[in-house]
Amino acid sequence: MNDEPLPLEPAPILPTEPKESIEVIDTTKRERQPDVLVSVQGLDMVFDSKQVLFDVGFEVNRGEIFGFIGPNGAGKTTTIRILSTLLIPTRGDLWLDGVHVIEQPEIIRRRIGYMPDYVGVYPGLTVREYLEFFAGAYRLRGKQRDALLSDVIELTDLGKLVETEVQVLSKGMRQRLCLAQTLIHDPDLLILDEPASGLDPRARIEFRALLKELRRMGKTILLSSHILTELSPICDSVGIIEQGRLIRYGEVADILSQLRGDRVWYEVTLVTAQEGILSHLRSHPAIDEVKLDDSVLRFSYGGAEEDLHTVFAILAREKVSFTSVRREEGDLESIFMSLTQGEVS
């Protein structure tokens, strides 16, 4: 006998964290904020009695590349599919340039270019016919269509393949074709779900260069990935999601400074490991933490950079020889590892 209530109600079924009340806006439009292109507020999603998104909210500024990162099953694709008008959230609001995504999906579809994580192509069509079909689907006609087609083909470097049938294209070329398709109607926002997954290193680097070129052209790009090295060099800001909760979002540099505060880690490679040096270093007022792993000494330093020599003076006094010193720069990987616990929702 099933005593549980029917899993139909939109009310949260799984316990959610207490959250601030969110202003419910009935109008389908809201005041445009000049810099913000995408605004997501209080997004909840329940699938078959399982809640997969909890109060997700973030903003993407115009002309930036926003990286949506998280482990597999964290809720990246669900959020992206909601933003692409493919899913309706259980609760929450999304705006693209002041237009409500759920209330006016037809307008949104004209203004976004969506590239799914798996590119399905139509067998039997050539690259040109494939792109012509999507141009027609966006109601482009005549000279305008031809001009946009040739621009997109040139940008994505598909010129030599226009008469090739799409089903014989390599994975990398299919990704390019799909990117070309998302650009065909000149959208404001590109939504790319795991765009570089399955690509070889060369294709990945080329794809990254293509994204940089698009940013230079003024496109706003929201892309998701769980490959951090892929996002690190190109993202202006990131959102980190785990177990359906957005645990941090903002510019990469801001998050890094938030995480490390005013502390910087240094790594010193010793000639021989000397345990005795640890106590001397701990006595330094600007050093919080010291670790010695084989012959690699790591310490976090919170003092002024011009006083760093006092630390090395201790090493010299204790006759500790070392071969190199490296200041550890924070990157997406360090952010990700320090914020997430590797669990999926």
Binding site: E9, P116, Y138, R139, Q181
Partner: protein, 532 residues
């Protein structure tokens, strides 16, 4: 960005789905299987023509007679091939897009759902018309023998085009409901097989059978003798209604719940009901003039025939609508949250849940006992109002029995639906299998009954038309053969009980709750750990 002219952006016109139609044609004709399917289609037809010509030359002396025979077989064979080949093009129209994951790209374009459906239809239907066109040289051979006119050929081709159009739009609707090619093909072919081939086969088989059997089918035609215009109107009503229903239902499946696309379906339902009632009224009115001896009891009989039709069709329509509503991928709990009572109602009526079975039981109670108790009073009242009261009373009596038999049928088929759902067959496919089974069993019952009762049948023309909704077994039995009705009730009730308990056993084995309503993807409860 420059966009297309204003008239192309009107919701009803758009670009008439032309980009997608062009894409569909290109994709279809460049596949190897397209060539082979066309080759086999023509080869079958050519072999059929050769067989008929060689067979007729030995038996038929007049050249015109050979031509007529060849002409008849040519179109008969082609009607069969159209039903066999064309649904395959349409059945995978949307399901293949979903399976290959190009569907997401398609629905995030600027194309509206009605443009998607219309574009698919134009592309696939255009291909089908091309198939029909390439058979024209073979038709030329038939005409060479003489005995038939060009107008005859045109008329028959028109019927084939109509058949192709209906099959295409039906396949597209089915395809829009599922993401599996196999399911789409099965659900498309099952009704085509049962509604098309089985009755055709039965009619062909009965042609050589008893006179009584022949009488069953000729009675359907007799019921409309002298009312050719009405027959044409009914055929047009059925064809247009079916086409519009499939089109609107497919559009609804592809639409966002926010866009309130259900209004067209409601409007369609209302128009269809009103036109249907109008046609029924036309039939009664014209029968009074055309058919001698038509009296008030015949009016009541006509009303009962219509009521039976509605009693059978409406619950199935509700069930299919509710199952379609639940399984639409775009319809999530947000839409449900706005109108929770609608969703709850749909869940109650959803075939596949134990609640659906309880609904069937309620239907039995209302339909059978309600009609049984109230029927006598109505009969008495009509006895006061009508001059031929005994007839009215008898009509009501067997109307009541027929209602009861249908209600018991629901017990059986409701439980069958429940059993299927416990095995994982839900939603549209569940409904299609149950409906196909109901039709098949009813036809088999007719055959059985005809074999048992091969003498002259006391036919009532209006009731015999109800065979299409599989109630004929009961109506025929009602006229002096109550045992058949009782037998059907017992069989249905027993089968229903067996299916219901079978379903409970399956649920127990799958560790699923017995009285819950099962949604696709619902996980089984954890196995209880038995302490040693």
């Amino acid at each position: 960005m420059e966009t297309s002219p204003w008239y192309q952006r009107l919701p009803m016109f758009g670009n008439l789905g032309m980009p997608i139609a062009l894409k569909e044609v290109r994709s279809l004709i460049r596949r190897n299987r397209y060539f082979w399917s066309q080759f086999i289609y023509l080869a079958f037809l050519a072999v059929g023509v050769i067989i008929v010509i060689t067979g007729a030359q030995g038996t038929v002396t007049k050249q015109e007679a050979v031509g007529q025979q060849l002409f008849a077989w040519f179109f008969r064979l082609q009607a069969f091939l159209v039903a066999l080949v064309f649904p395959a093009f349409a059945a995978t129209s949307f399901s293949s897009e979903k399976a290959e994951r190009s569907f997401e790209l398609l629905i995030t374009t600027d194309l509206r759902p009605h443009e998607l459906v219309w574009g698919k239809f134009i592309g696939i239907f255009g291909n089908c018309c091309y198939f029909l066109m390439v058979t024209l040289p073979l038709l030329g051979i038939c005409i060479l023998f003489g005995g038939v006119s060009i107008w005859d050929a045109f008329e028959n081709y028109l019927l084939l085009v109509l058949e192709a159009a209906l099959l295409c739009i039906y396949g597209i609707w089915v395809s829009s409901c599922t993401a599996s090619n196999l399911r789409a093909i099965m659900a498309t072919y099952a009704p085509v097989l049962f509604f098309g081939f089985v009755p055709m086969g039965l009619m062909q088989g009965m042609r050589a059978g008893s006179g009584g059997t022949q009488g069953v089918f000729s009675a359907i035609l007799d019921a409309f003798a002298g009312q050719e215009l009405l027959v044409m109107a009914i055929v047009a009503y059925a064809a247009i209604g079916f086409f519009v229903f499939c089109f609107v239902a497919a559009v609804l499946r592809l639409s966002s719940p926010e866009s309130n696309q259900e209004t067209p379906l409601r409007v369609y339902g209302l128009i269809a009901l009103l036109v249907g009632l109008g046609l029924a009224a036309w039939y009664v009115q014209s029968s009074r003039t055309v058919r001698p001896g038509w009296g008030p009891s015949d009016d009541i009989e006509a009303v009962f025939a219509l009521a039976m039709l509605l009693a059978f069709v409406l619950p199935i329509a509700v069930l299919s609508y509710s199952s379609g509503r639940i399984e639409t991928p775009l319809r999530t709990s947000r839409a449900a949250g706005q109108r929770p009572w609608v969703t709850r109602l749909c869940w109650v009526l959803l075939p596949g849940g134990a609640r659906g079975y309880i609904f069937a039981l309620l239907f039995v109670a209302v339909a059978y006992f309600g009609v049984h108790w109230i029927g006598t009073d109505i009969a008495s009242l009509s006895g006061v109002l009508l001059s031929d009261a005994p007839d009215a009373r008898s009509v009501l009596a067997y109307g009541r029995d027929v209602f009861g038999a249908i209600a018991f049928g629901f017990v059986g088929y409701g439980a069958f639906s429940f059993l299927l759902s416990t095995a994982g067959v839900r939603g549209f496919l569940n409904w299609a299998i149950v409906l196909a089974t109901a039709v098949l069993l009813s036809l088999l019952a007719v055959v059985y009954w005809v074999q048992v009762e091969s003498e002259q049948l006391p036919l009532s023309p209006l009731f015999s038309t109800s065979i299409v909704v599989s109630v004929m077994t009961y109506t025929q039995g009602a006229e002096g053969r109550d045992w058949l009705i009782r037998w059907c009730m017992v069989v249905h009730a027993t089968a229903g009980a067996l299916c219901f308990f079978g379903g409970l056993v399956v649920l127990r084995m799958r560790r699923l709750p017995a009285l819950g309503v099962f949604r696709p993807g619902q996980k089984a409860a954890p196995m209880p750990v038995r302490e040693s």
